[in-house]
Structures are given as structure tokens and as C-alpha cells.
């Protein structure tokens, strides 16, 4: 919302308030001022000038050389290419060493060899029009010469730009902001009641209004003006409109826009001669009903919208835009002003449905005050008379089917003080509320009708607090019951996982939770897999972000792809992320977490496996089994394992299948793992119990056996550990050898086995039988031979 500060002077005295102070105080009382701009501030050394003589440029067809009187001793020479200059034209001249909006500096120079001592300006060059102008701005003939252009064009205006929150539609108006200014600076305000000069006729002889759906239109006020003379509006009105960002059209349309700015009440003017039956009907639109709006666009309406119609056809989308069929034109002689209150939600639906948000709809959809309709329309009629634009017909059509009662609340100063943590006296509260036009009497607060946002004690408390000053509220610490805060075991587990993986040399990543549905296929997830059952976004930013992920693999692979494409020689990353699984018969999907790891560079299967083993140990999960898995298309058939703790599935690990790598443009070996965080949480045991340090020495024996290449070392360990009764403390694989010495299809596997007893020092007699049993079992079960 733009507010030309000079406009405030219509209602109050703002003398002595500096821009900076205005910005600060208004912001601190709740009306956020984003800035105060002055269109003239950047314009320097630009004056009015008169073209005395125009000659052809000797070397350029499209240029002319002008002699211009700029009010100095001698005229100056300016070269221009503008097509609309003529001798005698009064124009803005940016002289040598002048500046224009946007920091543009003008100095003398040569154009095709002819000296030019400045530039004639167009409206866009002066910053008074956004559009690119086709020629130089031609000023009225009687404009004095050599005058500062900012003064001549009244550009020297401070315009404050407000950010108005959605609960304060009343502040989307000059009067509303004047009220806030008056309350903030504690200065008196006077808003004159419009005085309408009307003829002795009766408006009911001219038109009638019928509201068919009172729930959609609580009030409709209409007035008629006859003998209308369509003309441009006066300069002062055009200037104010322009300061607020509205283009001047003609006196009638400008008045409706002026009222919208001043009162925050959107208005419309119909050419009454084009209203069939001279009757206005407010009703729901019919599905498929057609209307060409003022912007010459054909519109198809829907029953959720409110339409204004005459006896035969729609003539406007209520609260959004009028129809072309009843538009005020140059030959219009009788108009009907509309000042109505339409249902906020219905206007919003209409504007949204038609894809046309207008200034009017933006106001209506926040909810307006019905009480404002009458003063607004009277002010419009007052201006019609003042501008000599027509003769106001006597009387008002005022259909007011739904009158909202004034909000009356209990005045509870003690409660408010307790709520705010303050100690403001009752009298001070009353004074501040009265500044905001709230009336306090007999223990009640009478809320002004334009403050529909005030519904209870908390709202009144906010009014008091913001006028008093939020900065004057003390800072205290909460009292009351002690509350034990902290993290849940599951939250702590997540921290542990994160810290462990980071310590293992992985970087945590955070990726979008929505993916492209094609990504699962790229990641090798087979067709028909349940992970293709997605939660879909109906209005995604694009197909690539259109479904919630059901698996973390592609998120990690995409990150590796980014890093690889940027020639990072290695990358090792992890994410603890949520996956989303739709559940039959439930509105919300299951949200569970996965830990996904991915890496390329100096890594192999055993490196990532070691990272996971260390992770499992950190969360107290011991004895996980890695079962070879050759049937998961995401992974290399010979380098993949599913991870189990007893029968519980924990996750999958392996080298990413070359085909999957290729689809993610990764021409390198990639290793990845996806761990089910929920399973991990179920199995995790963060308790720790001290075991006494051993009192007796350990005995270590190394054994090396030859087995078939296909034998997994995991089987060997199992057999060794099974024979150990309770004296095998540890069993470490320290060598695997394949080569001619052990024969083809064979390998030698060497273990270092540590024996220890808690009761005594072990001897050969204790250990040898166990070693014998181990070797015997290995031979029987795996055909292992001692080397």
C-alpha cells in the first residue's frame, strides 16, 4: 500500500515529523513501512525548455538539431532522434551534468559529429511511467521556462510504502493509515463527512437493486449521477492516483479508484443506459455463464462466483471486475455507482477461478466493513459535483440485508496486564484504546466496525501493547512448574548415528524429499515393486519433484552424480531421511526413516562394510550377518549383501550395479548402503556394562587352512566360534591367499585365535583339544586342510 504523505494532511497535521521518525514509529506500532520514496530525489538539473528552432542533422537522417531555450542567457543546442518534437514545444531538458532516476548521468557530447548539450526527456526517462515512451514529454504551452521539472510535475512527493498484514484490510486505505498515524503520534484526526449536493429527483425512479443471495452480499449501496460529462480528471487527482500506482483514465473511473484508495472501499460505475431494465441483481453465477470483462477478455463463470447482472445478462464479476457491456465510455450520460460488500471467500474464489486478481478483489477477499459503503459512495458523489462531472440524483438505494452487530467485549485491564506481563493503568489503557477509536464505557469495549479482526481479550491486549510499545514490555523468565526437557532415546540414537558416520569420514547431506517418479527405475528398482506406490503432489513444481520418495537410494546417487560431474575426485556421503509409504485406508502415509550411504573414490566393499560394522557397534548391535545377495538389480550381483541381525532385516549394502551407475552418469565404482532406521532403533542397545579386565594372560594360536575358493570366510568363523566353549576370546582373520601354492580353485585363510579363561592361566592341555576340534570340524564341514 502506497501512501503519499501529503495526502495525510487532508485529515491531520503531520508537521515536524521527519521521514525516518515516521518510518520507525509506524513500524513499531504495527504498520510496517518498507521505505519512503521520493520520485524527485534522483532528478537533478532537469528544467523546462522551449524548442526555438529545429534543423536537420547534416550526417544523420533520423536525428535533428534543436536550439532550446532553457531560461538561460543563450539557447542551448540539443541533438535528438525523437519523432514528436516541433518548434515551440515545451519539453523537459536534462542539462549538462544532470541526473535522472536510476542514477543515469547526462553530460554534453557529440552525436554524429554535432555537439549536444543535454537531452530532452520522455516520461519513462523521468521515472513517471514504467512503460517505454515513444517520444519526448510535451508540456502545456504556458509552462514557465527554466523551471525545475520536479516542481513543475509535482514529483517532489514523499510516498511511504506499507506492508499491510492480512488482518488489517482497513489499513489498505489512506483514511485507515491516517487513523494509524494519528494513534501512533497521538495527534487529532478529522475525517469530514461527505456532503452531497443532490437534485430533487428520486433515485428509485432510475434504478433498483435486488440481492438474491444475502450470504454473498451483505450490503449494496447505489447512487445515480445524470448529465455526466466524461472528461479527464483534474491534475491533483491524477497526481495522487499516480503516486499510488494507479493510471488515470477519466473523471468517473478516476473517482472510483480515488475512493478505493481513500476509503478502502472498491467501487464500480455502470453506464445505466446499458443496464437492461435499470435493475441490478446480485446472484450466484451460473456454471458456464459468459461475460466479457473490462479488459476485453471473454470469461466463463462458475456457480461459486458472485455475479452482478441486469434483467438479462451478467454485467460484472462482483468484487473483481466489471463487464465490458456496461462500461463507462466517452458518450456515457447516466451512471450508477456501486458501493457494496461482497463475501470475502466468494470474491476470492471468483478471482482465483478466473485467474484475475484485481485491486478490488484483493481488498474484498480480506473482508471489508459494510458500514464503509455509504460514506464512500457519498464521497464519490461529492467529488462528481466538485469536479462538475454530473448531477447527483436525490436519494440512495441501500439494500442492507445482513447488518453485523458491533463487537462489544468485556474490558479486562487486570487480565490484559497478566497476559502481557505488564502493569499499565486502566486509565492509560482507555486513553490508548480511544486513540484507536475504541470506546470504553461501563466495563465494556465497543469495537469500531472497521476492526473486524478484534474478537477477544487477546486482540484488545495487542492493541494496547502495540500503542504502548512492544519495546516497553519487560523481559522475564517463565515461572511455574519445572519441566524436564531433553531428547528421546530415538532422537539420541539419531545423533549417535550421525556422529558415528561423520567420524567415519562421511559427510551428511540433506536432499529434497520429493523425487522424479522415474528415479526409482533409474536406481534399478524392479517394476511392480511396492516402492512405486507413491504419495503424489497434485501441484508439483515439476515432474522431477512430483512424488514423495519411497527409497533413499536415488537421493544419494543424485548427490554423487553432482559431485562427480563437478570433478570431485571422491565423495562419501550419508543422509538420514524420511521415506513415505501410502497406507491403504489411511489418509496419511507411513513416514519412516532410512540411513543411506553412498561413496566413490578410494572405497571398496570392505570399506563401506567396515563403516557399517563400526556403526552397528556404536549403537550396540553385535553379530550382524551379511548374506550375499545376487538378485538385487540396484547392486552388483557379486558384491552385495543383505544385512540381518538374527531374522531381522537391517538393510542392504553393496557396489552399485554398473547399469545403475550409467543411468546416473557415474562412470566410476560406487558403493552404497541403505539401512532401515526403524529396525536399527528397535535393535539398538545404548546401555553399556563394564566387564572386569582379564586377570590371566591370553594364549594366541594362528591357524591357516586351505579351502575351496567359494567358501565364505563367514562360515569358517562360525565353525571356529562354535567349538570354543567359553575360552575363545577373539578370532581374527589376518590373511587370505590365493595362488599356485595352494592350487587353483583354492584359497588359504589364516586366523589368529585368542583363548583366555577368567579362572586360570590356560595351558596347551586346555587349548590343544579345542584347536583339534576346530580343525576336524572345518575339515568335515568345509573340506578344509591345515596348511
Amino acid at each position: 500500500m502506497k501512501l503519499p504523505l501529503s495526502w495525510l494532511k487532508d485529515y491531520m497535521n503531520i508537521d515536524g515529523i521527519e521521514n525516518a521518525e515516521y518510518m520507525h514509529k509506524m513500524t513499531m506500532s504495527g504498520s510496517i513501512v518498507e521505505g519512503i520514496e521520493n520520485a524527485a530525489a534522483e532528478i537533478k538539473n532537469v528544467v523546462t525548455g522551449k524548442i526555438l528552432k529545429i534543423e536537420k542533422h547534416p550526417d544523420a537522417d533520423k536525428l535533428v538539431v534543436c536550439m532550446v531555450d532553457v531560461g538561460e542567457d543563450a539557447p542551448i543546442q540539443i541533438v535528438t532522434g525523437a519523432p514528436n518534437v516541433f518548434e515551440g514545444a515545451v519539453i523537459p531538458v536534462a542539462k549538462h551534468k544532470s541526473t535522472l532516476p536510476g542514477g543515469v548521468k547526462i553530460t554534453k557530447g557529440k552525436l554524429r559529429g554535432v555537439e549536444s548539450f543535454g537531452m530532452m526527456c520522455s516520461t519513462d526517462e523521468l521515472g513517471i511511467s514504467e512503460e517505454r515512451a515513444t517520444g519526448i514529454l510535451i508540456l502545456p504551452e504556458d509552462t514557465p521556462i527554466g523551471e525545475d521539472i520536479a516542481e513543475v510535475l509535482h514529483l517532489n512527493e514523499n510516498v511511504a510504502e506499507f506492508e499491510i498484514t492480512s488482518n488489517r484490510p482497513d489499513c489498505m486505505s489512506i483514511i485507515g493509515l491516517a487513523r494509524e498515524t494519528a494513534a501512533t503520534f497521538n495527534r487529532p484526526i478529522s475525517i469530514k463527512k461527505p456532503e452531497v449536493t443532490e437534485n430533487s429527483e428520486n433515485v428509485t425512479d432510475y434504478a433498483s437493486v435486488e440481492i438474491r443471495n444475502p450470504e454473498l452480499c451483505s450490503r449494496y449501496v447505489g447512487r445515480v449521477v445524470k448529465n455526466v460529462k466524461i472528461a479527464p480528471s483534474p491534475e491533483w487527482m491524477q497526481r495522487r492516483l499516480k503516486s499510488c500506482g494507479i493510471r488515470a483514465i477519466n473523471n468517473v473511473v478516476d473517482i472510483t479508484n480515488y475512493i478505493m484508495l481513500e476509503y478502502g472501499q472498491p467501487m464500480h460505475a455502470y453506464d445505466l443506459d446499458h443496464v437492461e431494465g435499470k435493475k441490478i441483481i446480485v446472484r450466484c453465477a451460473e456454471d458456464g455463464e459468459q461475460l466479457e470483462t473490462l479488459d476485453d477478455q471473454p470469461r466463463t463463470l462458475a456457480s461459486s462466483m458472485i455475479v452482478i447482472s441486469d434483467e438479462k445478462r451478467a454485467i460484472g464479476v462482483a468484487g473483481v471486475m466489471g463487464g465490458a457491456n456496461s462500461e463507462v465510455c466517452d458518450d456515457t450520460t447516466t451512471i450508477l455507482f456501486e458501493s457494496a460488500n461482497f463475501n470475502a471467500a466468494a470474491v476470492r474464489r471468483g478471482a482465483k477461478g478466473l485467474g484475475m486478481r484485481t485491486d478490488a478483489s484483493a481488498l474484498f477477499e480480506k473482508g471489508l466493513d459494510s458500514e464503509n459503503c455509504l460514506p464512500a459512495i457519498n464521497r464519490a458523489c461529492e467529488l462528481m459535483t466538485e469536479l462538475g462531472a454530473g448531477e447527483v440524483v436525490g436519494g440512495v438505494i441501500d439494500e442492507y440485508p445482513v447488518k453485523k452487530p458491533q463487537t462489544v467485549l468485556d474490558f479486562e485491564p487486570e487480565k490484559m496486564n497478566a497476559f502481557l506481563g505488564m502493569d499499565i493503568s486502566e486509565g492509560e489503557m482507555k486513553e490508548m484504546l480511544s486513540r484507536l477509536e475504541f470506546e470504553v464505557k461501563d466495563g465494556k469495549v465497543y469495537v469500531p466496525t472497521f476492526r473486524a479482526d478484534i474478537e477477544g481479550m487477546a486482540d484488545i491486549a495487542e492493541e494496547v501493547a502495540r500503542i504502548y510499545g512492544y519495546d516497553r514490555i519487560p523481559t522475564t523468565m517463565m515461572k511455574g512448574e519445572m519441566v524436564a526437557g531433553g531428547k528421546t532415546p530415538r532422537q539420541k540414537l539419531e545423533d549417535t548415528v550421525r556422529e558415528n558416520l561423520a567420524a567415519s569420514g562421511l559427510y551428511e547431506i540433506i536432499t529434497y524429499s520429493f523425487i522424479d517418479p522415474k528415479e526409482n527405475a533409474m536406481a534399478g528398482i524392479p517394476e511392480g515393486d511396492e516402492r512405486y506406490n507413491f504419495v503424489r503432489i497434485t501441484n508439483p513444481l515439476g515432474e522431477e519433484n512430483s512424488v514423495m520418495r519411497t527409497d533413499m537410494t536415488s537421493s544419494v546417487l543424485k548427490t554423487l552424480r553432482t559431485n562427480h560431474a563437478r570433478r570431485n575426485s571422491q565423495a562419501a556421503v550419508f543422509e538420514i531421511g524420511t521415506i513415505f509409504t501410502p497406507v491403504e485406508g489411511r489418509e496419511l502415509p507411513d513416514e519412516t526413516k532410512q540411513i543411506a550411504l553412498g561413496m566413490y573414490g578410494e572405497y571398496d566393499f570392505y570399506a563401506i562394510k567396515g563403516i557399517l560394522e563400526s556403526l552397528f557397534e556404536a549403537v550396540g548391535i553385535y553379530g550382524c550377518e551379511f548374506k550375499a545377495c545376487g538378485d538385487n538389480p540396484t547392486y552388483h550381483g557379486g558384491r552385495c549383501a543383505r544385512i540381518y541381525k538374527k531374522d531381522k532385516y537391517l538393510g542392504i549394502i553393496g557396489q552399485i550395479h554398473p547399469a545403475v551407475c550409467a543411468s546416473f552418469k557415474l562412470d566410476t565404482e560406487v558403493y552404497a548402503a541403505v539401512i532401515d532406521f526403524e529396525a536399527l532403533a528397535e535393535l539398538a542397545d545404548m546401555s553399556r556394562h563394564y566387564a572386569p579386565l582379564p586377570k590371566f594372560p591370553a594364549v594366541t594360536r594362528d591357524i591357516a587352512v586351505t579351502v575351496d575358493k567359494t567358501v565364505e570366510v563367514g562360515q569358517i568363523v562360525k565353525i571356529i566360534e562354535a567349538q570354543g566353549s567359553d575360552i575363545i576370546e577373539d578370532c581374527k582373520l589376518f590373511d587370505i591367499y590365493e595362488g599356485v601354492q595352494v592350487g587353483r580353485d583354492k584359497k588359504s585363510v589364516a586366523y589368529s585365535i585368542t583363548f583366555r579363561s577368567a579362572e586360570k592361566t590356560l595351558t596347551d592341555e586346555d587349548v590343544n583339544p579345542v584347536i583339534d576340534r576346530i580343525l576336524k570340524q572345518l575339515e568335515e564341514k568345509l573340506g578344509a586342510q591345515l596348511r
Binding site: 482465483k352 501493547a465 512492544y470 514490555i473 523481559t475 515461572k479 528421546t488 550421525r498 551428511e508 501441484n539
Partner: protein, 339 residues
């Protein structure tokens, strides 16, 4: 015999001082003190001496032996010290060669800052509450006093799954769920991902993180809200930090405020980071709207409370000087390595 002993002593002294190696010293030990050594031979021959002479010569012999032993030891430690010195010299390395580092990993910058925020609030007795990201419209909007057709619900802001289900646009639904499930006193923060339908650029991301807080108890005041947030800001940005509460509007709080902190870079004088204003907006907050309390089955006449919401990306941006939000979600390891 005395002469003999003196001769041995002189010889030994000379030989010992000339010995350069541990082996040579050992040879000399054997030569003089060994079973067949020169001194031993003299001592063996003492039997031939008269009883009067024997003790004197014996004493002299002992002195010579002690002298040689002592010299031997001294010479030995000298040699050892020299050898050790030489060894150290030989083992000298170039200390300017870079160290061998363990592989470096680390938490995401957003996680690091979130951990700090959690610590601060846990220190004030807060718990951490979590909730679904795919959320019912009711929890995301309606229960928070944002009915259907409210301007804050424009489709351009919200991702919809269907008419009743959205991707949460804020973590406030977690507050509602907490209030429904738990009776006051409540002190929670709800950090998490939120979604808005914004195209990606340096300052917008369709996925970002919020940390919202909620306190409900008897007698909670707006002054408590100010005190709590002031403590938070001082812990996060330093003791000198000042706060500025500006009136604002949120549908779920009343009164509502936006909070600026004095610029941590310039202290309020105005600089590049605060765009010359001296203040930086960091969060929105307010007293929980009575309607919201009622919606959650909490009697607003008995209880009151406050809520606040912090944008994690924004706080992180100020912590680490990250100027482009896209960096958080691209996960380039060269970026992640910097924290």
C-alpha cells in the same frame, strides 16, 4: 708388584680413552678384568707376597680394579650417548611434510546449527517434538485458525496431495498434535522440514527447515516470551545482542510480533549484512491465539502460552555467511567440507 699394578692402570687408562666402540670396550674389560685378564693375573700372584705386603698390595689392586671398572662404565655411557645422538640425527625427518590425516567427514551445516538451537532450548527445559511432513489440512491450517479460503492458503504456496492432505508448510501442526496429546505444562521445540511451492533460487527453496517453539502453562506472559527469546538470541549470537519486537500478524498468535536482532556483524551501526539497517529479522512469534488453544482442548481462561518460529536456513546463513540457499541442498563435498 706395585709397579706392575701402576703399569696396568696406566695402560688401561690409555686404552679405554682410545676405545671407540662398545665391542672394543668389552675386549678391554676382558683384557684387564676378565678371568684371564692382566689384573686377575696380578691378583692371583698375590699369594707369593709376604703377609705384611699382601693387604697393601691387595688394597692397591682393588683400587686399580675399581678405577678400571669405573672408567669402563663412564666410557660406555659416553659411547652410548654418542650412538644415541647419532641415531636421532640419522632419523631426522622433514617436519614440514603434511601430516597423514584420517578421512574427514562431518555433519551438514544445517544440522550443526540445529544442534546448537536444540542445546539452547533443552537447557531451558524444552523437549523436541516431531510429527509428519505429509500432514492433514486440519493440522496445518484449520486448527491454527487458518480456515479454508483464508488468503494465507493460496495454492501457489502449498503443495497439495489432495483436498485434505498437504505437505506441511510449517512445523506448527506438530504443536497442535502435541497440545492434543499432552496436557500443560508444555515446552517443546519442533524442528523439521517444511514445504512451500517456491521455485528454487538463491533465497528460495521448496524444501526448508523451521524450528518452532511452544510453551503452554498457567500464567505465561508476553514478557516471558520476550525473556525466553532474548536468552535464546544472546546464547546464539552473543551477550551483547539486543532484540527488537515489532507488532505483526499471524493467524495463530495474538498478539504477534516479528523479532529483529541487533546486527551481530556491525552491532547495529549498519553494514552489508543488515543492509544498513542495524537490525536483522530472525523470527516470528506471539501469544498462542485463544482459538488455537480451544481447538486443541486447552482452556484459554486457565492457560496461556507463546509460540515462535525460526527459519533454520536463515540462522545458518548468518552463522556461516552462506549467501545462496541452493548450496545447502546441492551437497557438494567441497561445500560440506568447510564446516
Amino acid at each position: 708388584m706395585k709397579e706392575k699394578l701402576a703399569e696396568i692402570k696406566a695402560k688401561a687408562e690409555e686404552a679405554l680413552s682410545a676405545a671407540k666402540t662398545a665391542e672394543a670396550l668389552e675386549e678391554l674389560r676382558i683384557k684387564f678384568l676378565g678371568k684371564k685378564g692382566e689384573l686377575t693375573a696380578v691378583m692371583k700372584g698375590m699369594g707369593a707376597l709376604s703377609p705384611e705386603e699382601r693387604p697393601r698390595v691387595g688394597q692397591l689392586a682393588n683400587e686399580v680394579r675399581d678405577f678400571i671398572s669405573k672408567e669402563l662404565d663412564e666410557q660406555k655411557s659416553k659411547l652410548l650417548a654418542a650412538a644415541e645422538k647419532q641415531k636421532i640425527k640419522d632419523e631426522t625427518i622433514d617436519v614440514t611434510i603434511p601430516g597423514t590425516r584420517p578421512k574427514k567427514g562431518g555433519k551438514h551445516p544445517l544440522t550443526r546449527v540445529l544442534d546448537d538451537l536444540k542445546d539452547i532450548f533443552i537447557g531451558m527445559g524444552f523437549s523436541i517434538a516431531e510429527g509428519p511432513e505429509v500432514e492433514l489440512d486440519y493440522y496445518n491450517f484449520e486448527a491454527l485458525n487458518i480456515p479454508k479460503d483464508h488468503p494465507a492458503r493460496d495454492t501457489q504456496d502449498t503443495f497439495y496431495i489432495n483436498d485434505n492432505v498437504v505437505l506441511r508448510t510449517q512445523t506448527s501442526p506438530v504443536q497442535v498434535r502435541t497440545m492434543e496429546a499432552q496436557k500443560p505444562p508444555i515446552r517443546i521445540i519442533s524442528p523439521g522440514r517444511v514445504y512451500r511451492s517456491d521455485a528454487v533460487d538463491a533465497t528460495h527453496s521448496p524444501v526448508f527447515h523451521q524450528v518452532e517453539g511452544l510453551v503452554i502453562d498457567k500464567g505465561i506472559t508476553m514478557a516471558d516470551l520476550k525473556g525466553t527469546l532474548e536468552m535464546f538470541a544472546k546464547k546464539l549470537y552473543g551477550e551483547d545482542t539486543r532484540l527488537r519486537f515489532r507488532p505483526h500478524h499471524f493467524p495463530f498468535t495474538e498478539p504477534s510480533a516479528e523479532v529483529d536482532i541487533s546486527c551481530f556483524n556491525c552491532g547495529g551501526k549498519g553494514c552489508r549484512i543488515c543492509k544498513g539497517e542495524g537490525w536483522i529479522e530472525i523470527l516470528g512469534c506471539g501469544m498462542v491465539h485463544p482459538k488455537v488453544l480451544k481447538n486443541c482442548g486447552i482452556d484459554p481462561d486457565v492457560y496461556s502460552g507463546f509460540a515462535f518460529g525460526i527459519g533454520l536456513e536463515r540462522v545458518t546463513q548468518f552463522r556461516y555467511d552462506v549467501t545462496d540457499m541452493r548450496l545447502y541442498y546441492e551437497n557438494d563435498v567441497r561445500f560440506l567440507d568447510q564446516f
